[in-house]
């Protein structure tokens, strides 16, 4: 499946005539079982694509919410091997929802790139987003991943100008992740008009679907941004809610239910989005 599963999902969204909802959660947050419950419930709540964060001690592109989520997971013993185990369990009951691993390179490098790709593929991973691997470092992981038919999803940012875009898009597959602001995850909301213009610019360079993320927190924002893109990504808002619920002592299914309820409102947002993008 792999890249094909992502392609199929975006094709289906296109046929439905609506933008997709991409939801990010950190693996093992606040603990392994609870995080499995959360992730397992996401498709029914309306997530079209799931990004699973691989915790790292030094997440230099993340804001406080995702930093804290990673530390909660690490404190409870999360490892990359356990994250892949989580993916395997998810795939036992869901063959359709694309799963993308997102994180930083060192845990993967430490695991060993060939072994990681074999295990990730076997577990049912469709794509990778590795924040600290720009196109200049493609031989590290991007090219070997493509050989295994695992999508390598690139981040494009406001600083990625027209001259650089073709380089950035060269080995990108699955979809392009447009980071709507210069900054870290969980920052202020992006300006909708600027996002529309940026997506249009990306579309001049690629046929791939464009998902827009960073700073989207509410159903209204998801609808607005989604209206200008192929998908809206929500991460910090969901992860903050997991943090708050965990702080109240919730775990397992009760925590997952609360998250699902929130994700359902986001999903309703993107389903009501007015398409302005082609």
């Amino acid at each position: 499946m792999t890249v094909a599963r992502i392609d199929a999902r975006f094709a289906a969204l296109k046929a439905e005539g609506r933008p997709g909802l991409v939801v990010f959660v950190t693996a093992g947050d606040p603990d392994l079982e609870t995080s499995f419950e959360v992730i397992r419930a996401l498709p029914a709540a309306g997530a079209d694509v799931i990004e699973i964060g691989m915790p790292f001690t030094d997440p230099m592109a993340d804001g406080p919410a995702i930093q804290a989520a990673g530390l909660r997971a690490l404190a409870n013993g999360q490892t990359l091997a356990k994250t892949l185990g989580l993916v395997r369990r998810f795939r036992e009951t869901d063959q359709a929802t694309p799963l993308v691993l997102m994180g930083y390179y060192n845990p993967i490098y430490s695991y060993g790139v060939p072994r990681f790709l074999t295990d990730a593929k076997a577990a049912g991973i469709d794509g990778l987003i590795v924040v600290d691997l720009p196109t200049e470092e493609d031989p590290e992981l991007c090219l070997p991943a493509l050989e295994q038919d695992i999508a390598f999803i690139r981040l494009a940012t406001p600083t990625t100008d027209d001259k650089r875009l073709p380089t950035v898009l060269r080995h990108t597959s699955g979809f392009v992740y447009y980071v709507s602001i210069n900054g870290i995850t969980g920052s202020a909301a992006p300006d909708c008009n600027a996002v529309a213009a940026a997506v249009a610019r990306l579309k001049r360079h690629t046929e791939l679907p464009v998902a827009v993320g960073f700073g989207i927190r509410t159903p209204e924002q998801a609808a607005e941004i989604g209206g200008n893109a192929d998908a809206a990504v929500v991460g910090s808002a969901v992860v903050s809610m997991i943090g708050e619920a965990a702080a109240e002592g919730l775990t397992g299914k009760p925590l997952a239910d609360r998250i699902s309820a929130f994700v359902a409102t986001l999903a309703a947002g993107v389903r009501g989005a007015k398409r302005s993008a082609a």
Partner: protein
């Protein structure tokens, strides 16, 4: 894990390649937002290197503002005390602001000015790099924000106040271990947020390419001067170079001009903290393995899952779980011999140098002196050791007082 081949290159001074690699180390492992900036910086630095007026301006400020050249001093009393090798100190502690850090800051601020940047940021551990950055920012009239771990703010309070006096904003970093590595994460986060107008002055030979090479080049003034001074004083090169390594900027600054002088032995001293077997140290080469952090591949202290382990050293400037990528390469090919010294050995050397030479060395530099104390006694009297006295210890007196049980 891939290791660099153990071949001897024709020259040890040719790195990095155009992708910023020293063997398998180095590189540009940063978020896409930063990539265009790093490419701009690389180009601006290359242009500056070709422009004689840039070098001339830098030399002017190094002489008249920093106070270079720094003396090469024969430490007669330490030499007599150990009764073996002849010990010379390269007096970087006499520079304006009290350490080698300003050599690099001066280079980078002139580059920032040349690139039209409007705002300076930096990370700091001991506060020496923060003070040096705040100093040049004041001198060139640019606003400056310094990221510093909360733990370091507590143990280096004099430097925090110094930075504030110089007009810098000091931002306490409360994430992670609240030390240098977290300050660097936070500075990188600031940089991705304010990419357009901000210049990030990295304080050591780490970070993404071109920083490791650029910082080395700015610090190489130490070794270039020392080489000329030694030839003038002794008529020959030293036999052994010694420097402490945190990120490795004072060390590479001294070593680089000597790398192809095969007869010169080179010892670099990592911080062994409470001991290499205690798990509380900052010896990334002795106890780490290759990984990727802060923009480059290098030896890192990390667990089996690739999570970074917090370092420990009595000296905040060495308290970092990584090391510059060029050092990792020099380690693998065997050109530099990496050793370590504990907190206690550094404290002993600190006091010895103060009492015998009337020089209070930085705790960082005391690690280099501690290694000298180990090797000098058994070396012949005509063996010359050249030590980089990278900074002065005024900033450390509170830490040392606590360690010695003295009340101030």
């Amino acid at each position: 894990m891939a290791m660099a081949p153990a071949q001897t290159p024709n020259s040890y001074r040719e790195g990095p390649d155009e992708h910023g690699h020293f063997g398998i180390y180095g590189g540009r492992f940063v978020a896409e937002t930063l990539m265009p900036l790093i490419l701009d910086l690389e180009k601006a630095y290359e242009d500056a290197c070709k422009d004689p007026s840039f070098r001339a301006e830098l030399d002017y400020f190094l002489e008249h503002y920093v106070g270079r050249p720094s003396p090469l001093y024969f430490a007669e009393r330490l030499t007599d005390h150990f009764g073996g090798a002849k010990i010379y100190l390269k007096r970087e502690e006499l520079n304006h602001t009290g350490a080698h850090k300003i050599n690099n800051c001066m280079g980078q601020i002139l580059l920032a000015k040349r690139m039209g940047k409007k705002r300076i940021i930096a990370e700091t551990g001991a506060g020496q790099h923060g003070v040096a950055t705040a100093t040049v920012a004041a001198r060139f009239g640019l606003p400056c924000t310094i990221y510093m771990g909360k733990t370091d703010i507590e143990r280096q309070s004099p430097n925090v106040f110094r930075m504030k006096l110089l007009g810098a904003e000091v931002v306490p970093v409360t994430s992670g271990s609240q030390t240098l590595k977290d300050a660097m994460n936070e500075a990188l986060r600031d940089w991705v947020t304010q990419v357009e107008d901000t210049f990030y002055i990295i304080g050591t030979v780490a970070g993404p390419h071109p920083y490791p090479a650029m910082v080395r080049d700015f610090q190489a003034v130490i070794g270039n001067e020392a080489k000329a001074q030694m030839l003038k004083t002794e008529g020959r090169l030293p036999d052994t170079l010694v420097a402490c390594v945190g990120g490795g900027s004072n060390a590479i600054g001294l070593f680089y001009p000597f790398l192809d002088d095969k007869e010169v032995a080179i010892d670099a001293v990592e911080a062994a903290g409470l001991g290499l077997e205690s798990g509380k140290h900052a010896a990334s080469l002795a106890k780490g393995r290759p990984g990727v952090l802060h923009g480059n591949r290098t030896y890192l202290l990390q667990d089996d899952d690739g999570q970074i382990i917090e370092a420990h050293s009595i000296s905040a400037g060495l308290d970092y779980p990584g090391i510059g990528p060029e050092h990792s390469w020099l380690h693998d090919i065997g050109r530099v011999n990496f050793v370590s010294a504990t907190d206690q050995e550094a404290l002993d050397a600190f006091q010895l140098c103060a009492k015998l030479e009337g020089i209070i060395p930085a705790l960082e530099s005391s690690h280099a002196l501690a290694h000298v104390a180990r090797i000098a006694p058994d070396l012949p009297k005509d063996h010359i050791i050249l030590v980089n006295l990278s900074g002065r210890g005024d900033k450390d007196i509170f830490t040392v007082a606590t360690a010695l049980g003295a009340k101030l």
